[in-house]
């Protein structure tokens, strides 16, 4: 197992608001911040905490589909837009669908490991409310194999892909309990989001969330096995974090206690053109999580909190099984037991996850890292969960497409 050759830290995370339906200030017909505005807000949010852009050696930006959502390519050149002092510094943009953020973090980590940089500003962004959902579905379908899958695919391509996984899971392990677990997952996500001011569901005031989430799927208007509450929403948001070496921490004047250490990671790629062998199993996610835990030299018992990639409720359930907290077919029981809740053994997605906080696709991986940094350094305010000294580690899992690009990272309170 590859071990880091030097210590790598993350610090100074920042999340913008996740803007979209559900937020009171969101109105589809009113002007709102664009791509460059959100990049600037998130980037400056991190720069302010690390003594400004002069301290930064390199920049990485993660994004999935700005070329279509915003008709904007060339995002690396928007990093210097964050702060004048970033001009003339090396920057790059990375893309791996909804796993772009994870790839951005890994790019920054490896840059630090290579020794060419001590402070890397890492930004993730997506602005998706520029088109109606039915056209956004076209753009997001780019995370699948266009020539091989799109024509036969559904109008709502990705919801249908995961609806297919849910259907297979129902068939194998039973529908009733699984649907109840989906509804519980939704409730926990929104309840967490209500505690976090930047979350898209922060304003959600629905009384009986589980009853709402039990709404029967409507295949005529949407997909066969999922309803809209099973899906993460369309979001505009950006996140940023600084990836730094020990020297970098000294330069930016941040003590190790205000940072998290990256102690293990797993970065795994599957073949886009090959369908999953078993639709009820996230094999790539499982491989990435195992690599991350093995390289950190820890087990599940050491994890205090997890950020998983719940782009759909079924992805949340399958992630639990892929990471190993529950055996195959036992994810529903695990969720219904309350183990993933704030009061549970290992709280999942403490600021709401993709369903509750929001899912700015290409930015999500960076958002997850910022969330874990906040949680482990006691900066999570109302949504803080106690992180016990017996379980000082955290895990993030960021997935692109239908379990194709996966980055898992293990963090430790530094």
């Amino acid at each position: 197992m590859v071990q880091n050759r030097k210590k790598v830290f993350m610090t100074a995370g920042y999340n913008t608001v996740s803007l979209g339906t559900g937020r009171k200030e969101f109105h589809p017909k009113k002007p709102r911040p664009g791509l460059e505005d959100l990049i600037k807000e998130a980037g400056q949010g991190t720069l302010k905490q690390i003594g400004g852009g002069a301290n930064v050696d390199e920049g990485v930006i993660s994004n999935f589909m700005a070329a279509r959502f915003n008709k904007q390519g060339h995002l690396a050149a928007l990093i210097p837009h964050v702060d004048e002092s970033l001009r003339w510094k090396p920057c790059c943009r990375v893309e791996g669908a909804c796993g772009s953020g994870g790839l951005g973090l890994m790019t920054a980590v490896k840059t630090v490991l290579s020794g060419t940089a001590d402070v890397v500003l890492t930004i993730g962004v997506e602005v998706q409310n520029t088109v109606k959902a039915i056209y956004g579905a076209d753009y997001l379908a780019g995370a699948g194999w266009f020539r091989g899958e799109r024509k036969a695919g559904h109008a709502f391509f990705f919801p249908a892909v995961f609806s297919g996984r849910a259907g297979a899971y129902f068939e194998k392990y039973g529908r009733d309990k699984t649907r109840r677990a989906f509804a519980r997952w939704y409730r926990l996500a929104v309840e967490n989001a209500r505690l976090c001011e930047t979350a898209q569901e922060f304003h959600n005031a629905t009384e009986d969330l589980e009853a709402l989430a039990m709404t029967e799927p409507n295949p005529k208007a949407f997909v066969d096995h999922l309803n809209v509450f099973d899906c993460s929403k369309v979001s505009d948001a950006a996140a940023a974090i600084a990836v730094v070496s020990e020297e970098g921490l000294k330069r930016i004047g941040i003590p190790q206690s205000e940072a998290v250490e990256v102690v293990g990671w797993g970065q795994v790629e599957a073949d886009l053109t090959v369908p999953p062998e078993d639709p009820t199993y996230l094999e790539t996610t499982a491989r990435a999580a195992k690599k991350a835990l093995d390289s950190a030299g820890i087990g599940l018992k050491d994890l205090g909190t997890v950020e998983c990639h719940d782009c759909f409720t079924i992805s949340g359930l399958l992630s639990i099984e892929a990471i190993g907290f529950a055996g195959k077919g036992e994810g529903a029981d695990y969720v219904l037991s309350g183990a993933t809740s704030r009061a549970g053994a290992v709280p999942f997605n403490t600021s709401g996850g993709l369903i509750g906080w929001g899912h700015p696709t290409g930015g999500t991986g960076v958002r997850q890292a910022a969330t874990i940094w906040q949680q482990l350094t006691d900066k999570a305010q109302k949504w803080q969960v106690p992180v016990s000294a017996k379980r000082p580690f955290a895990l993030s899992v960021n997935m692109g497409g239908n379990d194709k690009t996966v980055v898992a990272i293990v963090y430790k309170k530094a």
Binding site: A137, F156, P219, A221
Partner: protein, 445 residues
């Protein structure tokens, strides 16, 4: 001729009007969908959109393009299946755009009535003028190649009268959409005694395919919808005249409008509704009803007077509201017309005094929108009207009287055989007028 064949060659008269444009939209989409379902090219279908105004027809094509696209976005799941055989159409956007082209290619705008001569189905949606309707339908009938069936969107003229005067031999049925047809769920279906059963069956199937809620009405002038609305409006006008003696005309209009909207929880006040429909349209409907149901007081000198002063209501081409009894600013009520001064008095100059006279709303009151979204609407309304029943203010008294009158109008429609029962009357008001409760109820004692 089966359902699909009947919808192969359609003509819509008054196609660019308020109702006609919606009818063209829904019919053209149904025609294109039939082609898609059967795998036949849409090019074998023709909808002649006939209207006297070139300019309005250009507007119609614009309206259709926008509306078909919106509809296509909502049924993209189905469209992907319908276009599965088209290898060149891959993304939702490509499929939606293709559907827009396919629907629009069915529609042929024309200012010539001759365009309708070859139709298998003629949908009439011109002005509510019996003589004009008879004239145009007779011309088509004289040249009618296909033994066309006729649907009329009349909201007041008895179908049997049109059938007899045009000598259609039962080839006509009343198919009354509510405005705007693309949105409103209600269709009143009216069979004349002579209407041929096959046409009635076709109409029921057509309405079902358009996903409309169908309420049958007997063939009596005004049917259920206008049968209630016109009498409701006439009652409001009589209340204005009564109250005007005490408080003056302008405050009286304000008060009665507020009673019907806020106290009775309706989507708009009665005078806003009259303005929405148009004073001239209301006048035509009343004339039709009064001539056919004489001696029932279906006439309003006040409306005639307002029209004489050039106060018409109705909508501008962009759909915004024209001034009528009330003045509108950005779609909101902003004043009341004073026929003596021939100008509008601002809301702010009337509201305070009018509201003082009416007194407060019941404590439970909330706007119509909140009520229709309330999952426990029934029990809310029970509680609200119980409070209203116990209040002694002028507003509460006027509201109870208004509610009782509306109830009596509904019962009168059943007694006269226009509606088969309370449910039909209530469905028309709930779906066609978006009321929060049916007029036939037990709220007003």
């Amino acid at each position: 001729m089966n359902y699909a064949d009947r919808l192969a060659k359609v003509a819509v008269l008054g196609a660019a009007g308020k109702m006609g444009s919606g009818i063209v939209l829904l019919t053209a989409m149904e025609m294109a969908d039939l082609s898609l379902e059967s795998g036949q090219p849409a090019s074998d279908k023709v909808l002649q959109a006939v209207d006297i105004s070139e300019k309005a027809l250009a507007g119609l094509m614009d309206y259709l393009r926008t509306q078909v696209q919106k509809a296509a976005e909502k049924k993209a799941v189905w469209l992907r299946k319908a276009y599965a055989g088209r290898e060149d159409l891959i993304e939702n956007e490509e499929i939606i755009n293709r559907y827009v082209v396919d629907v629009l290619s069915v529609v042929r705008p024309s200012t010539q009535l001759e365009a309708a001569y070859n139709a298998t189905l003629v949908f009439e949606a011109i002005n509510e003028n019996p003589d004009l309707k008879v004239k145009l339908l007779s011309e088509i009938k004289a040249h009618d190649i296909q033994d066309a069936w006729f649907l009329t969107n009349t909201s007041s003229i008895p179908i049997s009268e049109l059938n007899d005067r045009v000598k259609l031999g039962g080839r006509i049925v009343g198919f009354h959409f509510y405005n705007p047809p693309a949105v409103q769920k209600l269709v009143e279906l009216i069979r004349a005694e002579a209407s041929i059963p096959e046409l009635a069956d076709f109409s029921a199937q057509f309405a079902k395919k358009l996903r409309k809620t169908v309420v049958p009405s007997r063939d009596v002038a005004g049917f259920i919808g206008n049968g209630h609305f016109m009498r409701d409006g006439l009652y409001a006008l009589s209340e204005v005249e009564r109250l005007a003696g005490e408080v003056g005309f302008v405050p009286a209009v304000y008060m009665v409008n507020r009673i019907s909207q806020d106290f009775l929880i309706r989507p708009m006040g009665i005078f806003q509704l009259v303005d929405y429909v148009g004073l001239d349209v209301c006048q035509s409907i009343l004339r039709v009803m009064d001539e056919r149901l004489p001696g029932r007081g279906l006439h309003s000198p006040l409306i005639d007077k307002m029209i004489g002063l050039g106060v018409l209501g109705g909508q501008f081409a962009d759909g915004s509201q024209k001034d009528g009894f009330l003045k509108y600013e950005k779609g909101r009520t902003a004043g009341v017309y004073d026929p003596d001064k021939r100008s509008y008095v601002a809301w702010a100059d009337i509201a305070g005094r009018g509201d003082d006279k009416l007194g407060a709303l019941p404590p439970l009151a909330k706007p119509w929108k909140g009520v229709i979204q309330d999952p426990r609407r029934e029990s809310y309304l029970e509680g609200y009207f119980k409070q209203l029943a116990g209040m002694k203010t002028l507003g509460a008294e006027l509201a109870r009287k208004y509610g009782r009158t509306s109830n009596d109008i509904g019962l009168g429609l059943i007694k006269d055989g226009v509606a088969a029962g309370a449910e039909d009357v209530n469905t028309v008001l709930l779906t066609g007028f978006y009321h929060a409760y049916g007029p036939i109820n037990s709220y007003f004692g």
